[in-house]
């Protein structure tokens, strides 16, 4: 399986690479190894499957950004982030196969306007292991740890009984998909976020494997440059304070962040 895996990864970035057919082929191999209890090869197949899936999803997220489906892309980027974490936790030697998309996912996420998230607080009363199906007891651990791969299968918990204790508003969520959106009416979901940074990037970025990076710097602008600004407006500097309590009294003007994008490899 190692040779097969290396062969697949060698062609992964070529034009026309068929992700779905490769995933199907590797998954069939993985299942075969699982049936034979060949754990080593089943695990290599799992890692190969993950790498190919991560690259496929990264390309999909890129397409979603081009189509201005920002929230959908955000959710997929989070899935990629989680997938990379699981992959590297189990197979740290695969880092080179995903380091590029890991970097790009983080850069893309940092350009989103989402800052506030909802986070559930759950009391977990009973769960079972996805690998052996046994109920988990504190003093009788089945030996399978959630997040680890066994015989080509990722272990996780099935929560059988739980209680929702509350919902908190957080800035550093475990689950990034829970973005706070507004509503107009009962079912009317409103995306009130400003995606200008991503829009600007996508005007120039035509190939998901063409790297870019960015830096930020602060400049000061005259308050006259912000026509609708009142004392009560949110300050354009991004502090979260009201303009009247923030940059209004700054003799240098309104602090303004400037993003500079550079395409090509970082020197």
């Amino acid at each position: 399986m190692k040779n097969k895996s290396q062969e697949i990864l060698k062609h992964l970035l070529e034009d026309g690479f068929d992700y779905d057919a490769t995933i199907k082929e590797v998954d069939a191999l993985r299942k075969g190894y699982q049936q034979q209890h060949d754990e080593e090869n089943a695990n290599v197949a799992w890692a190969t499957l993950e790498i190919v899936s991560l690259h496929r999803d990264y390309s999909k997220a890129f397409e979603m950004l081009r189509d201005k489906k920002y929230y959908e892309a955000w959710c997929l980027l989070e899935q990629i982030e989680i997938g990379i974490t699981h992959l590297l936790r189990n197979f740290s030697g695969t880092k080179n196969a995903v380091s590029y998309i890991e970097m790009m996912v983080r850069q893309l996420q940092s350009l989103y306007p989402y800052k506030v998230f909802l986070s559930t607080e759950m009391l977990i009363k009973e769960r079972t292991c996805s690998i052996c199906g046994k109920k988990r007891y504190i003093r009788h651990h089945c030996g399978h740890f959630a997040g680890h791969v066994y015989n080509g299968e990722m272990c996780f918990d099935y929560v059988e009984k739980c209680a929702l204790e509350g919902v908190a508003i957080v800035f550093n969520p475990e689950h990034k998909y829970a973005v706070a959106f507004g509503r107009n009416g009962e079912d009317d979901h409103v995306d009130h976020y400003d995606y200008k940074l991503l829009e600007g990037l996508m005007d120039w970025w035509k190939d998901p494997y063409y790297p870019w990076h960015y830096t930020t710097k602060y400049i000061h602008k005259s308050p006259d440059d912000f026509s609708d600004l009142t004392e009560e407006s949110k300050c354009p500097c991004g502090s979260g304070k009201k303009f009247g309590e923030c940059c209004k009294n700054d003799p240098e003007g309104v602090k303004h962040v400037v993003y500079e994008f550079k395409f090509g490899l970082k020197k």
Binding site: K115, F117, L123, I138, E165
Partner: protein
């Protein structure tokens, strides 16, 4: 240690434990343990042997998941004699749970959800002469090794 609510067969092993995991003491769920405690308990048992206990009966065990990105390890009562080993095992556990991606361009102001992962814990250390000290930490997980060394240094300080 109040062991009044525990079954009789557990009381003795709880009292004799070198490392005791105690409940979160959170106001809403004082008897619940932090998310991941079950795995941490298994790791401690494997690496430190039998003198690890948790202050709850099997059937009463519950975990609380607070889904902000902080690795909350919970609260531990540790005998001085095993403190260095315990701190080492905790280090391996934190390393396994938090795999940090490479930091991106440092000149960029990152959103809060991309800041380095945070870890929190409370360790109460006691020796055979009755000397006791409590250490609380909440901060970057990357600083854990320095914090562990500092805990040992502070323990030895009179």
């Amino acid at each position: 240690m109040d062991v009044a609510g525990l079954p009789e067969d557990l009381k003795a092993s709880v009292m004799a434990a070198d490392v005791l995991i105690v409940p979160s003491m959170m106001p809403a769920q004082p008897k619940a343990f932090m998310e991941g405690t079950m795995d941490l308990y298994a790791v401690l048992k494997t690496l430190m042997g039998d003198k690890i206990e948790i202050c709850i009966a099997d059937d009463d065990y519950e975990e609380i998941e607070l889904n902000s990105r902080i690795l909350r390890l919970g609260r531990f009562c540790v005998k001085k004699v095993v403190l260095p080993v315990f701190l080492g095992v905790l280090s391996a556990y934190i390393y396994d749970r938090i795999k940090e991606p490479e930091p991106i361009e440092v000149s960029v102001e990152l959103p809060e959800y991309q800041q380095p992962a945070t870890v929190s814990f409370t360790i109460e250390v006691e020796d055979t002469l009755g000397k006791k000290k409590e250490f609380q930490y909440e901060g970057p997980a990357a600083d854990y090794k320095e914090i562990a060394a500092e805990i040992e240094r502070l323990w030895n300080e009179e």
